[in-house]
């Protein structure tokens, strides 16, 4: 049974324009909807419906069926119906079915009409969820449709009721045709015909199934390809265009290439659903990338281990960032090395350049970068920082944070 909930992406179906305008409904809005659809006066339709209802109850069943199958108009609100009314179609269906059952039992009718009605009622129950046209209608009060569609309600009772209706209908039909005395043979016949049909049509059905799933896989692949293409277009192709434009400026070109490489790499290595937002190495790499972009000096990042970021480690990242900025800005080094080792009990970060170096004691008191942003910051968080530098020999900043203390 195709009971998959009508997904939002599915085309709004065949009966699209036939709706039940609840705001104009007397009972279920079926007549009003039909009238609107056919362009006649509502009253005419209603009179016809009542007349049909008096003819052996057939009209009642038809009405209930229509009520169940035709969706309410979007946005139309039934203002004064008590909640119990929402079950009306089910009730009507049930009554109709019982009526039909009694009718059949009492008088052995042979018209073959009632069994069809019964079967239709059962079908309405069973198929209702599948026929549900538009789960994506604009928001409104829960209506009958929602009641009928609510997955919880599509459960066993509904299936059983529907199944019983259909079985009842089938039995009545068999009865009406007059095969009840040779039911055993009939069942055999059905079974054999079913088997033959299965043998003939089975492979085709299976092929269709597998080709459907193949198509699905192809579609997914196509979507992924499109996503990759879109990403490459937005990133790599743009950068390549920029590089062609700036071909005269080697520094700029190198910077562009590096930034693109970093971006592409992180995109390639990213796992879906993975967030690097709060890991130490992720934060260090981001900081390095930003400094590199800002000052145009390549920063080589090497990390061992990783840990989630917390207050103390955040301070380490900040201090490392400051150290990288200093190295990129003042050292005149061709590149900066950052090495971070995260262990269970401590985190160590080294920022090293091969630039001009400086004499720590000779820094003027008003230049606060190193003292405040690195040394004092680390001390505030119970870590420590050491700056090794001498003129002409480059600089190395060492940051150490015990992890027990940093939590």
């Amino acid at each position: 049974m195709a009971s998959a909930p009508a997904s939002a992406g599915q085309p709004k179906a065949h009966v699209a324009s036939l709706r039940r305008p609840l705001d104009r409904a007397l009972l279920g809005g079926v007549c009003a909807g039909l009238a609107e659809r056919m362009g006649v006066e509502v009253l005419v339709v209603r009179v016809l419906a009542v007349m049909a209802a008096t003819v052996g109850g057939l009209g009642v069943a038809a009405y209930a069926l229509a009520w169940a199958l035709i969706p309410a108009s979007p946005g139309s609100v039934r203002s004064r119906r008590p909640g119990a009314w929402r079950q009306a179609p089910l009730i009507v269906l049930t009554v109709a079915a019982l009526f039909a059952g009694v009718h059949l039992a009492g008088s052995h009718v042979g018209e073959g009409l009632w069994p069809l009605v019964l079967g239709a009622c059962g079908m309405a129950l069973l198929w209702r969820p599948a026929v549900a046209l538009d789960a994506s209608l604009p928001k409104r009060r829960p209506t009958l449709r929602d009641y009928l569609n609510r997955p919880a309600q599509v459960g066993a009772p509904r299936l059983i009721a529907g199944g019983l209706f259909v079985a009842f209908g089938a039995a009545a039909l068999l009865h009406a045709v007059g095969v009840q005395h040779s039911l055993g043979k009939a069942i055999w016949a059905v079974a054999i015909i079913g088997m033959v049909l299965g043998m003939v049509v089975g492979p085709w059905v299976m092929r269709m199934g597998s080709s459907l799933s193949f198509e699905r896989a192809a579609r997914i692949r196509e979507q992924e390809r499109a996503e990759v293409a879109a990403h490459l277009h937005d990133s790599v192709l743009q950068t390549l265009a920029l590089i062609q434009k700036r071909a005269g400026d080697p520094r700029e070109v190198a910077g562009l290439a590096r930034r693109q490489e970093r971006e592409l790499r992180s995109w390639l290595l990213r796992r879906p659903g993975e967030s690097e937002q709060d890991s130490v190495t992720g934060a260090l790499e981001r900081a390095a990338a930003e400094v590199e972009e800002l000052h145009g000096v390549p920063i080589e990042v090497v990390t061992v281990g990783d840990a989630p970021l917390n207050g103390g480690l955040e301070a380490v990242v900040q201090a490392a960032r400051e150290a990288m900025t200093n190295a990129a800005k003042f050292a005149g080094s061709e590149r900066v090395d950052l090495y971070a080792e995260v262990e269970d009990d401590r985190v160590e970060v080294f920022v090293r350049d091969r630039g001009v170096g400086f004499d720590l004691d000779a820094i003027p008191a008003d230049r606060r970068g190193v003292r405040d942003s690195i040394l004092a910051r680390m001390e505030r968080h119970d870590g420590r920082a050491a700056v090794k530098s001498s003129p002409g020999a480059g600089t190395e900043v060492e940051l150490v944070m015990e992890r027990a203390a940093s939590t």
């Binding site: 790499r265 290595l269 590199e292 090497v302 061992v304 990783d306 090495y339 080792e341 190395e396």
Partner: protein, 248 residues
């Protein structure tokens, strides 16, 4: 742990080392050829595993610059096919890849070092010369990978110890295996300096040892990396989510 340099290698230290470049990117091959042409003797290049194997057999170079990533198995495949017959040829892995498992795989197959493709021409020539001379070439990134690979399960064990036996020495494993499965504190210290961006000379200075000793430590680490059967060497396979491999 320094391996005795073979005659070919010893000769080539004085002369220009003969180099073969193996990379599936034509542009990259010609670029490196031009860059290295002055300092080294580039005797050929190849773009596929098949061509590379044939060329190396024919040319018998001192050093093969080997791309980690190529169709048909990449650098690992080239080394594997030649490992029997060409013990005197040294391989230096070269890659844009930062995936630890790929790089370590090539090293374990027998490459004597790993550098990234963004390395400058001078540094690359220097690395080739060192590999030709029998040394191992560890870039900061490779040092980081190796430290990661040999990370102690229980945490910092031995990393900061100023000498003294590692904390795990009570393990009931055989002595030989255990030695292969972990780094000595000194080796760790050397690797950490390399990861921090120190040259061998600077490492020696900082640790108060000779450059030869630094080279010996690095060669020893390389040997352990290649011979160790410790399964944690591939632990990124599972822990990669924790270890960020993204580089600048």
């Amino acid at each position: 742990m320094r391996e005795p340099a073979s005659e070919a290698a010893a000769e080539s230290v004085s002369a220009k080392p003969r180099v073969v470049i193996v990379d599936d990117h034509h542009l990259f091959r010609s670029g490196v050829r031009t860059e290295l042409g002055e300092e080294l003797e580039v005797v050929g290049d190849a773009g596929t595993v098949e061509d590379a194997v044939a060329l190396i057999r024919e040319q018998r170079p001192d050093v093969v610059l080997l791309d980690v990533h190529m169709p048909d198995g990449g650098g690992v495949e080239v080394i594997a096919r030649l490992s029997e017959e060409c013990q005197d040829i040294r391989f230096l892995a070269l890659s844009v890849s930062d995936a630890a498992e790929d790089v370590i795989a090539v090293i374990r197959a027998g490459a004597r070092g790993y550098v990234t493709k963004t390395i400058s021409a001078t540094e690359l020539a220097d690395a080739v010369r060192r590999v030709a001379g029998g040394d191992a070439v560890f870039s900061p990134r490779l040092a980081g990978f190796v430290l990661d690979a040999f990370a102690q399960d229980g945490g910092a064990g031995g990393t900061h110890g100023a000498g003294g036996p590692p904390a795990t020495s009570a393990e009931p494993a055989a002595q030989g295996d255990r030695e292969l499965d972990q780094l000595t504190p000194r080796e760790r210290e050397v690797l950490r300096h390399i990861a921090r961006g120190y040259m061998y000379k600077e490492v020696a200075q900082s640790l108060g040892i000779s450059v030869k000793t630094v080279e010996a430590h690095v060669s020893s680490v390389l040997r352990k990396l290649q011979l160790s059967s410790r399964h944690e060497l591939s632990r990124w396979a599972v822990q990669r989510r924790l270890v960020s491999l993204d580089g600048p």
